[in-house]
Every structure is written in C-alpha cells, then in structure tokens.
Symmetry: C2
DNA sequence: TTGTAAGCGTTATCAA
DNA sequence: TTGATAACGCTTACAA
C-alpha cells in the first residue's frame, strides 16, 4: 500500500489494463482477453499464466470499456416512485433490495437505485437509462392496475421483470388450491412457474409483455380469512394501501371472493384504501370504531398502519384482542415490540428479491417470458387475534 | 413509439449516437461534441442546430463511452455493511438515500447501492469499484472508532465523504455552544464548516484523510440531558447502539461529560451498548428495571429499541411516563403510533443525505478536504417524558 | 494456438 | 470556426 495522506490523495495508483497483463505475460492482448473470459482459443498453459499475472496486478475489467465494446453494462436498475415519507417506515424495500443484491453481486452486477417522485419521472428515467446504456435491465416494483411501464419497457427492448405481480387475481380463485406449498418447505424448492405462452395459451397472462414475479395475495388473504372466520369473526374490515397498486386490487378482490364464499355480508366485510401512512391508518381505524356496528377484526395492509390502529384502540380503551382483533400484512420488529404482539402475515421478502433478480438474469440470458410465483406467506398468530366478543 | 409486443421486444430501437446527429446536422462529430458539452469552438448557429437535432433524436450520451474517454463514470457508490435483519427496521437509511439521490440525480449522477455482510467485503468492494472505474466517488456510512476505510480510500485516490462523522467528540465539549442554530431556521442556511487544514491547523481533524459530514451528537445528547435533568431525573441510562460505531462513542462520551458537569453519579447515569435490535433493546431494559434502583429515564439510540423498551415497561405494569420516562434517538412513525407517543430527537435525515452528496460533489470538483456539520437535531417532547416519581 | 486490427461512442488534439 | 484523427480499454473477427 502506498503512503497515506496528501500524496496518495493527489496521485492515485494507475489501474492495470489488459495491455499491462499482455506485456508481463508475454502474450497478445486478445490472448489475455480470451484467457480471462474463459473462451477457447488459448492453451491451458497460457491461460494459467495470464490468470496469475492478472491476479498479481489486481486487475479488474474496466466496466466502461467492457460495456462499450458491446458487452453488458453490468448493472441493473431499480426505481422507487414513492414519496420519501412513505419509504422510510416500511421495512419492505430494503429487505427486497438486499435479496436482489445477494443474487446480483454474486455475478458482479451492480444495482442502480433511484428514488423518484412519480411514475412519469420513473418512465423518463427508464428512457434515459436505456439511451445511456446504463443498465442491462430493470426491476419494476409496485405494479399498478393500469401501468404504463411494461409497454414502455417492451418497446424500448429493455429487459425487465415486474416484481409484485399482476393486477388480475391469481389463476382461478374458485379452483381448489391444490398442493399448496407449505411455508416450512426448504427455500431451495423450485417456485411455481407458469409459462403463459406455452402451457396456458388461452389464459390472459398478467403482463403479456414482461416476466413477472409475484406473491399470491389472494391465497394469503384467504388464509387470513380462514384464521379470523375460524375464530368466529363475521365483521372484518381490510384497511388497504394505495388504491392504484395491483396487489391492493388483488387483496380487495380476494376479500370479496372469500366473503361471498362464506356467505358473509359485504357491508360488514369490506376494504377501505389508504396511502399506507400511520396517519391514514389511524384515521380509518377511528372511523370504523365510531360506526354503529364496528368490526370485530381489522386487517391492515402494512405493519405501520397495524401498529397505528392498535394504538387507536388503546386510546379508546378498546381491548385487543378482547374486543378487537388485529392482523398485520407483513411482519417486522414493529409487530413484535408492541403490546400485545401483532398477528402478522410473514413473507420472506429477501427471498422474494432473490427470486426477482434470478428471473431478471434469466430474461437477460434469453429465457422465455414467464410468470413466477414466490413462496406463499404464512400467518404467524400472536396475541392480537382471538375470539370476537359475544354479540 | 414502435408497436408493442413481441416484435418490439425482440428488435429494440437503435440508440442514436453523435454520429447520427453529425450526419443529420451536416457537421462533424467533434462539432457535435463541443456543441452538446457547452464548449467553445463552435458557432452559435451550429450549436443551436446540433442541439435541436439531438433533441429530436432523443439523444443521451452513452455513459460507458463517456466514462471510457477519461470522463467520469457518472455514478457514486454507497455500501451498507449491516446484516439484512438490522437494515429493514430502521427508517434512517432509505431516508438518507433519498436525500442523497435528490442531489445526485439533479446532476444526472446515478447511485450504486450495495448491501454487504461485513467491513472486509466492503473494503474489497471499494477496491473493485475503483479498479473497474465504476464509480467516481463513494459515501462512507457508519464510521467506526477504528476505521480502515478512510485510509484505503485515500490510498486508492477514490474520492469519498464520511457520513456520520468522527469518533472524537465535537470541537470542544467544555466550550459554550455559542449561537446554536435553531431547528426552526430555514433549511437554506449554510451549515457550519470547519476546514481543518486552514483555520485550525492545531486541532486534529476527525478523519485527516477524507471530508466528513456529521451531526453534533454531543450537543444533541446535551439537549436530551437538559430536558430530563430539568424535569428532575437523576438516574438516566442510555441504551446505545453498536459499540464500534463512532457516533455511539460520541454519545457515550457526551453523556459522561454532561453527567459530570451536573455532578451526577456515574453509576446512575451511564450507557450500555446493544446491536440496535428490538431484542437487545428489550433485554437491556429488563435488566435495568430489575435493578435495585432502576433508572427513572432511559434514552434509546434508535426508535425500534425505544418502542421495545416501552413495551417491556407496559408488560411489567410500569407506567410511562409516570414511573419511567423514555426518549428515542431518531423520530419515525413508530414513535408517533405507540401509546404514549414517544419523546424523540428529530433529525432531518434526507437533509443530511443532501448535505453529504453536495460535499461529495465538492470533493470531486477539487474542493478542499473539510468537515461539515449538519443541522442540529431538536428534541420533540411528547407524552413519554415527565417528572420522575418522588424518591 | 497465437497475434493483428477493427470497432464500440465519446472526448480531446490537432491542422485546415 | 471547423473537420479529421487519435486515444480510452475491451471484445472479437480474421489472419498468421
């Protein structure tokens, strides 16, 4: 290591290039390139020598040069189009990102993360990234019911995977959930895969233009309903997140289906939408509890709103779970530190991120357009859910 | 826009280059380059024409080509070396990132985010990024008391800014905090700046090798002490975060200083360290409350632990703030949704991120090595702090 | 099996 | 004010 301090700061060490390696190994540049990229056309002996020299020199391919010569940029993009406020509170994104990274960094691929204000800016950014050749592909999060992004990305030819799934409900809600994968299954299990173009030509694929990785919100909601209905609840309200998001639509739809199947009154089992904030979660809770016949159970679409709701109940002296049961969609430290601890739908979010990244790599490798389903979440029953009060 | 669907997916549109612009505008490539980069050597007329054509074609400089020809990579790096578990719960990072982005994206600079397991991997990553020329600079977060990163980065000549400040306590803890900036000041106020090399040659700069952006944890802790001492508390424990982090050391040091200044008993006013998790926060709280003379006030180094602590108190039937006051270092939705709402130290985290990004840009522009101080946080008094019980 | 040379898209250095 | 032309570091035909 060179001497630290001012000198080092001003005069950085020169980075070695393949030319340096070629000279030192006594071969041509192309031989070096072949050797380092595991391509045929170079003897075992030369390959080994070149490798050793590269190692000695601490050589790493200049990413710009590699990208320029027709290769890949070696980076993927992820854009979050949510107000900064909403971002901070949710544990979801950083966990997703860390899962994505795990897969990408194993292949030496970088992740470009950008936080923008709205969907238009996001679309403009995709165009710029594409024009700049900055990324090889992107992960599209928070799919909407009416989403302009798949079409744009398909038109640009920028490989992409939609993370979070389609707006339409899953395969067929009426169909019995045959061989449901259990949440305790080893993580190495191949996730369920549908290849819309081949196996089910008649079924409309969720995003006909892009591969999709999604969670079966419909089944997850069914599990929650099973739990609450089983306890005896008949007045159940779902405080959902942003109305424009695809998974919000799926959850709302599923609640309806499940309510109908059990012959529950739709006026007493329904959804209301919010912006995911603690403020709107609390406000919605207050309104519900003020009603003539308040719900005996509330399902919140994220952990923050669930905790806010529990807090509103506490304020009013409504015992949880004595008079009100609470379920949080998505587990986090939050659900475990409140009192009582909240029953929550546990998802493997980093695992979901890994799956998404793998799928994106598959698309880049020329794999077929397909729809992959992540592990089904399971319901972790804690102290916030119990039998409803009599009456 | 071309037709969507399969065709578009397979045959992406070609990206325009300066060659295309040159041809269409009837000038040479170099003229185009000059025109587009605001360099002299081209007539107003030509410049305007070139600009218009570029606009029409939707041209964007190929980032790889630009990077290769000696220019900048147009990207900055940020590495988070924390286990994925710890990441999710804290609102801090995503907010910091969104602030950083705000500044970088205005200059069309991308942010590479990477999550790694440990410091060694982080250092290896810096080396790789440097060798790959992938980033123009990096933001170093979570500075440690004994940190290998500044020396490495200085030796590599990779521009960097340390976010979170030095291990040593601030300027001089004994010195009266003259003209403290109020938290209500407009955000446009120039932050306090120390240029160690010039103004204070005798004072040891925190990181002699890198520019630093930091918050004055010492003063912040003093504010918390002011609040609690003023209410009458004399037994105050600080449940700190990771012991190796610089700001943890600063806060612990400041607590000692403040305790001494007020003649408080060091056995009754002290710090304990944790890993920031709700589990350790709760565990530490239990131990403290089991003691013969438990503290009347606890200061937690993050919001998650504060909520966990409040939950422990609730479990044991210890009224907050009646018998125990609680302060959270860092505000978030969490502190506002619990019951009672928690008194918290409010920082402008996105603002801190903006400041860090600006400083990094300044370093890249050849600015001097310096230490910049962020806005001083303020204490938002809520219902979790009150007078201690008599005795 | 090896070396030579062209090209990727940009910036920068020259003459004209 | 312009327009060739040579880098930048890598990949990849193509020739030896």
């Amino acid at each position: 290591m060179t001497a630290p301090g001012e000198a080092a700061r001003r005069k950085p060490a020169r980075r070695p290039t393949i030319k340096d390696i070629a000279r030192r190994a006594g071969v041509s540049e192309s031989a070096v390139s072949f050797a380092l990229n595991d391509r045929p056309g170079v003897s075992q002996d030369t390959r080994a020598r070149v490798r050793r020299v590269a190692e000695e020199l601490g050589w790493q391919a200049n990413s710009a040069a590699r990208a320029l010569s027709g290769e890949r940029a070696g980076a993927m993009g992820l854009v979050l189009a949510r107000p900064a406020q909403t971002l901070g509170v949710e544990s979801f994104f950083l966990q997703l990102v860390s899962g994505i990274q795990e897969v990408l960094s194993a292949r030496q691929i970088a992740l470009l993360l950008q936080v923008v204000e709205d969907l238009d800016t996001e679309c403009a950014l995709y165009r710029r990234w594409w024009a700049e050749r900055r990324v090889d592909g992107v992960l599209v999060v928070d799919p909407r019911t009416d989403d302009p992004r798949p079409e744009l990305l398909a038109a640009l030819g920028l490989p992409a995977v939609v993370v979070g799934g389609p707006a339409a409900p899953g395969p067929d809600p009426a169909e019995p959930s045959a061989g449901e994968p259990s949440a305790t299954e080893p993580a190495t299990t191949e996730p369920a895969v549908t290849e819309p173009a081949t196996t089910e030509p008649s079924a409309t694929p969720p995003h006909p233009l892009l591969s999709t990785v999604w969670a079966d919100d419909a089944k997850a909601m069914a599990r929650i309903l099973d739990h609450l209905y089983g306890l005896g609840h008949r007045r159940i309200v779902h405080i959902a997140g942003l109305p424009g998001l695809a998974h919000t639509a799926r959850r709302i739809q599923s609640l309806r289906t499940e309510a109908d199947r059990r012959g529950l009154d739709r006026r007493q089992v329904h959804s209301v939408t919010t912006d995911y904030s603690d403020a709107e979660g609390a406000e919605a809770t207050r309104r519900l509890l003020d009603a003539a016949r308040p719900p005996t159970a509330i399902v919140y679409d994220n952990d923050v709103m669930a905790v806010a709701g529990a807090s509103v109940a506490a304020e009013r002296g409504i015992p949880v779970p004595g008079a009100l049961s609470i379920v949080a969609w998505d587990d986090s430290a939050l659900c475990r530190v409140t009192h009582p601890r909240l029953t929550a739908l546990v998802r493997d979010t980093p695992g979901f991120g890994r799956l998404a990244a793998q799928e994106l790599l598959a698309v880049l490798d020329g794999g077929p357009l397909r729809t992959v389903q992540g592990e089904l979440p399971h319901l972790e029953a804690r102290e916030s859910t119990a039998m409803p009060p009599p009456g």
